[in-house]
Subunit: 301 residues, 4 copies
C-alpha cells in the first residue's frame, strides 16, 4: 500500500527502509530536506491516493500535537492517521477527537524495537477502532517481526500507547535488575571475570533475555569501561508510575528503577546533605565540604 510517513529521524528512516523493502510505497516528510521525499506536509498528502494513510513518527508532546493539528486540516473523510511516537496515552483521545471532527480515523501505536527494528521487525501495540486499524494493516504486517507475534490491537484509542508505556516501565525494572547484579559482581571481585559470567548466562539460565544479550555486547566492546553511570529517562517510566499511583497499584521495583536514574544525574544530592547534617548535629559525625572535587572512595564499616 501507499503511506505517508512524517518524521524521518533514527526510527522513522529505518521504518521507511523496512516498508520499502517489503514492497510498500512510502512518501516520507521531514523538516530536514536532506532526508525528506517531499518539501512539505501538504505535498506529502497530495501525493497519496485516497483514502490516505499517514504515519506520524515525531517526538511526543508538542511536535506530535502540531503535526496532527496540521494533518486535521489537510486530510479528508475516510483517511487515517497513526501516531507511532511515544505519546502519552492520555493525549490520544484529544488527537482522535481532533481528527474525528474531520471524519479522519486515528490509531495510536506504540512501537518497540529500537535500532534493531529495521532488520528484526518492530513490536507494535495499537489502540483504536478496528476499522481504522484494518486500514493500515498491510503496513503493520510489514513492520512487525516475521514470527507471528509482536503485534497486538490492545483496545480502544489510547490502549496502544498505554500498553507501550507499561512495556517501557517493565523495561526500566529489567535493566535495573541486571545492572544491580552487575554492580554486585563487579564490586565484590569474588568472580574472576564479570563479562564471562554474564556471557555464560545467555544460554540455559532463567534470566536469559535480549537485554542480557545487549549488556554482554556492551561488556565485550569495552563500552562499560568508557562511560559514566548516568542514565536519562524518556518519560514513559514516569507516566507508568503516575498511572500506578492513580490506580493505587504498588510499583516498588519500577519506581526504584526510575529513581535510580534521577539520582544518577545529580551532581550532588540535596537529600543526602540533609542526612549528613542531621548526623553531625546529633552525633558529631564528620561531614565533607561541598567544594571537595572528588568523592572519596572510603566506606564506613
Amino acid at each position: 500500500m501507499e503511506i505517508g510517513l512524517v518524521g524521518l529521524g533514527k526510527m522513522g528512516a529505518n521504518m521507511r527502509e523496512r516498508l520499502r523493502a517489503k514492497g510498500h510505497t512510502v512518501v516520507g516528510y521531514d523538516r530536514n530536506p536532506a532526508v525528506s521525499d517531499v518539501s512539505s506536509l501538504s505535498e506529502m498528502v497530495s501525493a497519496l491516493p485516497r483514502p490516505r494513510a499517514v504515519w506520524v513518527m515525531v517526538p511526543a508532546g508538542e511536535p506530535t500535537r502540531s503535526v496532527i493539528t496540521d494533518l486535521a486540516e489537510l486530510l479528508d473523510e475516510g483517511d487515517v492517521v497513526v501516531d507511532g511516537g511515544n505519546s502519552r496515552w492520555t493525549d490520544d483521545q484529544y488527537h482522535a477527537e481532533l481528527l474525528g471532527r474531520r471524519g479522519v480515523g486515528f490509531v495510536d501505536c506504540g512501537v518497540s524495537g529500537g535500532v534493531w527494528g529495521r532488520t528484526q521487525g518492530y513490536a507494535l501495540m495499537c489502540g483504536g477502532d478496528p476499522a481504522h486499524v484494518d486500514q493500515v494493516r498491510p503496513v503493520m504486517d510489514a513492520l512487525k517481526p516475521e514470527g507471528g507475534l509482536g503485534f497486538v490491537h490492545a483496545g480502544k484509542v489510547g490502549a496502544g500507547h498505554f500498553a507501550k508505556m507499561v512495556h517501557n516501565g517493565i523495561e526500566y525494572g529489567l535493566m535495573q535488575a541486571y545492572a544491580e547484579g552487575y554492580e554486585l559482581l563487579q564490586t565484590t571481585k569474588i568472580v574472576d571475570n564479570v563479562a564471562d559470567v554474564f556471557r555464560s548466562w545467555r544460554e540455559g539460565t532463567v534470566i536469559r533475555s535480549w537485554l542480557l544479550d545487549l549488556l554482554v555486547e556492551a561488556m565485550e566492546s569495552g563500552e562499560l569501561d568508557r562511560i559514566r553511570g548516568y542514565a536519562e529517562d524518556s518519560g514513559e517510566g514516569r507516566w507508568t508510575v503516575e498511572a500506578a499511583i492513580e490506580h493505587a497499584v504498588p510499583l516498588p521495583v519500577i519506581s526504584a528503577a526510575l529513581f535510580a536514574r534521577f539520582t544518577s544525574r545529580q551532581p550532588d544530592s540535596p537529600a543526602m546533605k540533609a542526612v549528613a547534617a542531621m548526623r553531625k548535629q546529633f552525633g558529631g559525625h564528620a561531614v565533607l565540604p561541598s567544594s571537595s572535587a572528588v568523592r572519596p572512595d572510603t566506606d564506613a564499616p
Copy 2:
C-alpha cells in the same frame, strides 16, 4: 565418564536422565529406594572407578553438609566432589577444606534451568581449582546447553555459587518487574486483554525473554486465575541482598522484589497496623477491626 549422583529429586533425576542420554554412566543414590540405583552411599562409592567423581544434588544447608561429611570418609586422594545444589557460597570453603584434608577435590557449581534443563540443558557456574573442574568436564559438557554458552568457570572455590546467587537475585528483580506491569494492566482495564498484550511482547520488543515466555504460558493455561498472590523464596535472594549490604552496594530493585515476597506471605501486616493506629491517633481516621474476615475492596481517593 562414570559419575556418582547423590540426590534424585526433581533436579537430580532429570540430570541423571540427561547424562545417560549423552552416553555417561550414572550411579544414582537417594534415600528413597524407589528412585535409587544403589542402596547406600558407600555402595555408590564402591561402584565407581578411581579417581571417582561424585555430584551432590541435595538441599542446601544441613543435608548438603551431611552428605559431604560422609563422602569425606568414603572417598580417597584424587577423587572429586561437585556440590551442584543451591548452597550458600560462604559454605563452600568449609566443604573444600573438609574434603581437602583427605586429598579430595571440590567444585561448587550453581545450576540453573529448572525443570526445562533436561531437554534444553543446564546453565552451570563453577568455582574451584582448574584441575578439579577438568576432572568433571565431560559431565559439565553433557549437562550444559548445546549452543556453546551456559557454562562458566567463575573463579576459586565459592565463585560458582556466588555467581548463581547473583543470577537468582537478578531473577527476583526481573520477575517482579513483569509482575508489576501485569498488575498495572490488569487493574486499570485500559487494554482489553492482558494476555494478548503480553503474548505480543514475545517478539520484537526490548523486554522479550524466557521469563516472559513462561508468564505468557501461565496466562494462557488459566493458571494465573487459579492461584493466590503468594510467593515463597528459597534463600538466594536473601543472600544476594546480604552480600550487597556487606559490600555497601545499593540494591533497591532486588531488595524490593524480595520484600514483596515477604509481604505476600503475611496474613496481616504488623507494620500497617502501626500506620493505621497512628493515623487514627492524630487524625481520627477510621480503622478496620482485625477480626473482619475479608479485606474490603474500597480504595481511598
Copy 3:
C-alpha cells in the same frame, strides 16, 4: 475579628471552638443544620462586616471547588477567601483567578494538627498575596500554637498547599519507619515487651517525636491488637510522589511508604500471582489455590 467558616466537620468544628475561645466571632455554615450557625451560605455572607473574610474547610476537589464558585458570586471587591482544606496545590491558581475576577483575594492554607489542634493549636502553611494574608492574620494567630512557630507564609498562591503536601509526604515516610521497626521487634520476639521499648524511646533518643508518642498511646490502649494492617491514603502522599517525578527528584522512602499502603488494602496481589506462576513454570515450585481462605503462616527458609 469576624470570619465566616464553611464546613463544620471534625476539623472545622474544632477550629470554630478555638477561634471563639480566643475572642473571635465565627459565623459557621455547614450543610448539616444541626451544627450550622446559619441556614445558607448567603446568610453567612450577609452576616459578615465588610471587607469580609471566609474560611473554607471542606473536602478537597469538587466540594471545595463548588463552595469557592458560590462564594465568587456572593462576595465583593476587597473580601478574602481562605482555602484551609487539603486541596491539591495545582487547584489553587484556578481558585485565585476565579475569585480575583471579582476582586476577591485568595489564600491557600495547609492546616496540620488533626484532632489535637483545638487545644495545641494548628500548624498553618499559607500561600498568597501578603496583603490577603494580612487580612486574616488575627485568625491565623488564634489558630496557631502558642510557641511562636507553626505558621509560615510560604510564598505565592499554591505555596501553602504545596508545603502542606510535602509535610504529609514526610509524614508517610516517618510513620512507615516507626511501623517497620515495630514489626521487626514484634516478629523477632528478641525483646520481651515491644511497648516497653517504644515507651522508653520517648525520652533521650534520637527518634523521639510526636508520632512516636501517639504510637505508644495506641500500644498502651491495646488498639494495635484490635485492628487490621489496613491503611488508607488521603491523596497528599500521591501528589508528593507525582510532584517529585515531574521534577526528577528521587523519593525512594516516601514512595515505598505510599506503596505499602496500597498493598495493605489488597485482598490479593495480582503481581504476586504472576511471580508465583513464573516460579512454578521454571522450577516446579508449589503455588497456593486462590480459593484458600486463610494465608498459611509458613515461611520459606
Copy 4:
C-alpha cells in the same frame, strides 16, 4: 556508686562527666593517657571496690572484644561488665559466656543521645539478667533523662543492643523522609524559603520531632550549604536490614534509606553504567564519557 569506665572518647568522656556531676565515682581508663584517670586496665580494676562494675564504651567489634577478653582475666566472681558500645547484638552472647565462665555478669546496653546526652541524659536499652542490671542501676539512673522515660530492660542478653539496633534503623528511615521532603522543596522552588517552612513545622504539626529541630538548626547555621551530599553509615542500619531478612520482615523504607547512603558515597555508579550501556545498545541513546569531570545539570523530559 563506684564504676570503672573504659573508653573516654566523645561518648565516654561525656558520660564520665554526667556521672560525676550526679555524685558517682568514676575511674576512667583510655589508651590515651591525656584523658585517662589511670595508666592501665588492671590499675582501673584494682581501684574499684568489690563487687566491681565496669562500663565498656569502646568501638564495636574487635576493640570491644579485646577489652572484654582482658576484663575476663582481671575481674572476679560477682563483678559485672556493661557493654555500652554499639556492638552487634549477636556478639553479646559470646561476651556473656566469656565473662560468665569467671562468674562475672554481663549487661548489654544500647546508648542513644549522642553529643546531647551529657546535659539531656542518655536513653538506655539494656539486656541481661535482672540481678546484673540491678548491680548497675544507680549508674543507669544517673545516665538516663530526668523525665522517667528513656530506660528499658528489654530482655535477656542481646535484647538491649537489638532494641538499640532497631532504634537506629528507624532513625535511618526518619532522616531520609525529612531529607526527601527537603530536596523536593529545594528543587521545585515553589516555596520561597525552605528553612522558613521547616522552622514553622517545629510546632503544631504531625511531623514535629527532635530530628526536625536539629535539621532546622543545620539550615539556620548555613551548614547545609557548605557540605556534600555524602553520608556514612555506622553498621546498625545494615544489621537491622539483615535481621529483617533473616525473619522475612519487609523493610522497604529502612532499606531504601540505607541504600541511599551507599549511593551517596559512590564517585560513579557501576549499575547506572550498565543501564546507560543497554539504553545505547537498543535505542542508540547518548552516553557520557567516564572522563568528564563534572556531571551536567541537564534533565530529560
